[in-house]
Symmetry: C2
Subunit: 561 residues, 2 copies
């Protein structure tokens, strides 16, 4: 298998009739999926998602793919194909469209509808091209064929991209539920046909490549929900992802059977379910829905709330209920169902919510205690089916951290893809398909682009490093006022500290040491601000380290008057 | 079931012949287990462990039980019974012995040996009373009987505490592996006999109460290790907990079969395995062990490293190997086995290590991909056995977050313990066993005590709140120098910021606003430091919020000269 060398050079020019593949996100991480295909100087982009920050990226709202690779070439982008409407596939579109508003967005009906409704919040009206499984569309030199795939959101597509360099199949996110709620199966027959015609490069979803076996059907959740509803006589709250139309459908169906009314809670839940209902993807019997205000007034045994917040997001309604900071007051006998995955990194937050709700007397049902969630991604058993049906000449695992990509590469190897035609790449690695063979050709710069508040890309790794130190250790600042004419310290030193855990009184102990050091420096004719800062930093740093064995950020400041 | 009311009052005096039970840790959390029993004015303590901090307790090294409840009564403590030598049961002992060095420590041979070796690092020589399963010991009014229990460390004990108030059984941590490596079974016959005699109150380990079924045997790991070793021709590294003698034993046995030498890596691993070997709990064939230096020199295919760092601890050898910051250079073909649990909250760190190792070409085997770990705690199926054998008159789930305690309470209810005799308490809640009935009698203050560097209890919730804000948003400080004689601002305003993600140049925009505001204040005769600080805070805070939609900590400083 080919691995990217840690110090790859920029790639040579793409040979004629070669196809270049560069992921700007999604390789080496779960999220911000974005792959750029280049042929004959023209570009086709598949997906443009966001990544959610981890704990070592504090204060960050979102992470975008690094668009620098497209700099100066945005006009060459023929289209942006959106495989489905999850945030990790469409979340960065508003930011890309800021760079060039006219990029045509290609996707299925529901994907485009959810995309438009999201873009409307950003006051962007996109150009769109609606496509359907089983159809083709041509975008510059790229002939695309779309295939139905089953996932945890309806109307997802895989896309085959055909150029004179060969046929590439990009699965998007998929699984192979054989009894999907909407009857829309992953198009294995289509993949088999395409495989028979010859697939030169397969890019396939690696998220669950480490998980053995196949997924349980979404349908298997219904009887579990039924059981839980049957046992509940007070309020029921179901938390799930705001785009999981089929999960919500099953909750609605169960609510009808148990004669409960339903209210949606959370802006994205209300927005997406509105879209899904309008387009006929969500079937809502008349009179079932009520609004939250009405739900608060009704007897708890008559309502179901369907809410966001399944990942323990601190500002979500569910977290606020768990902390008694919401009009809905959780009481003994209430039932909360977390009908969702638990995204790694969110465990502490989610368990805090579960414990908070439990402490208030609620019964909390979650995926570790009951079958109230099935994954949206094909595990190893299903990935093998796909590999065997498509029989690709070259294989490149996508959508995953290194552990997932490598596990998926091993599956490909086991099905007979030659190891030298399996390419494990990461973000920014350039893979060229030339003469029927895919190989790493180099790498381009590809970093994290942080959205924090209103800014994009302004918060840097160095700010984050500062935040990590401040967050772990706090800071101690020492302020000295120097009279530039006399060269003397005329004010301070004053010490201010936050988060250091060192009491104000304790600094009385070190102040004389700083004063002494400053006095000696002045006596030696040292009044240079830089030298004084160094001096104060050294004295205080040593004292803190010796006394407390801690390393707060030490910030010496010289104000000149 | 009884729940603690959120606003419990301090308890009334304990009635004569009543037994008081107060957990100072371990109820509402996994860790810092410590339970205080009181009878006739005398105290018996069971365990004294530490809790490891979560992400919202940044910079904290350890969390201790709150010893305030024992203030002024330490001389009444007859003994501290240690059920086993895990950190969450013995880690806070050095801190308790600082308060009163002479508290007798009661425990099994291995527990006391590991405890002594840990205390030696703190330069403490404890008084110890070694006990054995099947024996009894009397400590003041407390007659204790000890029972063998099987856990993920050898020589663990449960303890029955008998007073005239009744018989209490505290399981400590346990599971019921029916084929334990050392043949030392959890003493179900003993529990049955005690149950037949009558157990008035059962305190039982709730960690796995949400997990259905029973545990796989520790033995089942051996063939999996064998398979992985057989497939490996380069270096093998096994990471596991430093106290898991049986896990290490199985790795040693597998290494012997595959003709590899073994080196221990990590201070606590070396220390504990030395103790276990000396006492005969770990069987090490002669010539098997080498030191790390030798291992570095040998052909990778001839060695196994057994290392700490299975939880992704950033300074551990394993994390440093994953980041290429260790003499052992991971290369393609190496195999790393994470033979341990994944403690909730550590996922991000552990997956980072796995991804780092994978990226360097190692095969990483972990519990999600292979049976290389079994839990040390009884799941629901085994807890039911215990409840049915003991048939306690009252039940109090211990060792767990709310979700675990409640799940365990439900199991007790299902086995027939009357709901009004099931007490769910949390840290500091006072449970009195009087006249054969256990009930909540009140609550005492019980907070988190933070160890940070060399200090204990000095870092407060308010420091942590500051750290959280600083860590998420950074800070912006503005310094003004005021001449007290003229009341004029003679230096500054100067702005210094770290971690705010706002570039230095950007502050040029707000400085004039601050200067204007200060000038107007001065013109109005305002030179009071507090007023000037408020003014600067308001101007900068508004500007940051409007321009960036962020909320860094704003720290205005007035230096008077």
């Amino acid at each position: 298998m080919s691995y990217p060398h840690p110090e790859l050079a920029p790639p040579p020019p793409l040979p004629d009739e070669g196809l270049r593949v560069v992921a700007l996100g999604g390789l080496g991480e779960i999220g911000r999926n974005m792959t750029v295909f280049e042929y004959g100087g023209r570009l086709l982009v598949v997906d443009c998602g966001v990544l959610f920050p981890e704990s070592d990226q504090p204060g960050i709202d979102l992470i975008l793919p690094d668009f620098r690779y497209l700099e100066g070439r945005l006009d060459n982008v023929e289209a942006l194909v959106l495989t489905h409407a999850h945030e990790d596939h469409i979340g960065a579109v508003p930011y890309l469209l800021r760079e060039r508003a006219g990029i045509p967005l290609v996707g299925s009906k529901l994907t485009l509808a959810m995309m438009r409704s999201k873009l409307a919040e950003h006051r962007i009206t996109p150009e769109v091209v609606e496509v359907k499984e089983g159809t083709t569309g041509t975008f510059g030199p790229f002939e695309c064929e779309f295939f139905a795939v089953n996932h945890s959101i309806p109307d997802a597509l895989a896309v085959a991209i055909k150029t004179r360099a060969g046929v590439v199949l990009h699965t998007g996110d998929f699984k192979m539920d054989q009894l999907p709620l909407d009857g829309r199966l992953t198009d294995l027959a289509g993949f088999a046909r395409l495989g028979a015609e010859g697939v030169d490069l397969l890019l396939s979803d690696s998220t669950n490549a480490e998980v053995p076996g196949i997924v349980r059907s979404e349908r298997d959740i219904a009887p579990v929900l039924g059981d839980v509803f049957a046992q509940a006589d007070q309020r029921i709250i179901v938390a799930c992802f705001a785009s999981h139309v089929h999960r919500v459908q099953q909750v609605l169906d169960t609510a009808v059977r148990h004669r409960r009314k339903v209210a949606f809670v959370g802006r994205s839940m209300v927005r997406n379910m509105g879209v899904a209902r309008d387009l006929g993807y969500l079937h809502v019997p008349g009179g079932l829905l009520i609004d939250l205000r009405e739900a608060e007034e009704m007897p708890p045994g008559d309502v179901v709330l369907i809410s966001t917040g399944s990942q323990g997001e601190p500002m979500s309604a569910l977290s606020r209920m768990a902390g008694r900071d919401h009009p809905i007051r959780i009481a003994a006998g209430d039932t909360v169902i977390l009908a969702s995955s638990l995204i790694p990194g969110n465990e502490t937050a989610v368990y805090r919510v579960i414990n908070g709700l439990t402490r208030l007397g609620a019964r909390v049902v979650h995926k570790e205690s009951s079958l109230v969630h099935v994954s949206g991604h094909a595990p190893a058993g299903e990935l093998l089916y796909l590999l065997n049906l498509v029989r690709p000449r070259n294989f490149m695992p996508v959508h995953g951290e290194w552990r997932h990509l490598r596990a998926h590469a091993r599956l490909a190897s086991l099905t007979g893809v030659p190891d030298e035609r399996i390419v494990i790449a990461e973000d920014g690695v350039v893979v060229d398909l030339v003469g029927g063979k895919a190989a790493i050709a180099g790498a381009v710069e590809c970093g994290y682009v942080y959205v924090d508040g209103l800014t994009v890309g302004e918060v840097t790794e160095s700010s984050l490093k500062d935040r990590r130190i401040l967050g772990e250790e706090g800071f101690v600042s020492v302020i000295m006022v120097v009279d530039t004419s006399s060269g003397k310290v005329v004010g301070g030193p004053e010490i201010h500290a936050r988060g250091s855990g060192i009491g104000e009184m304790a600094f009385e102990e070190v102040l004389p040491k700083v004063e002494d050091a400053l006095a000696r420096a002045t006596a030696d004719g040292i009044s240079d601000a830089h030298a004084l800062r160094q001096l104060a930093r050294r004295v205080i740093g040593k004292w803190v380290s010796d006394t407390y064995r801690r390393r707060p950020m030490i910030i010496p400041v010289v104000v000149e008057v």
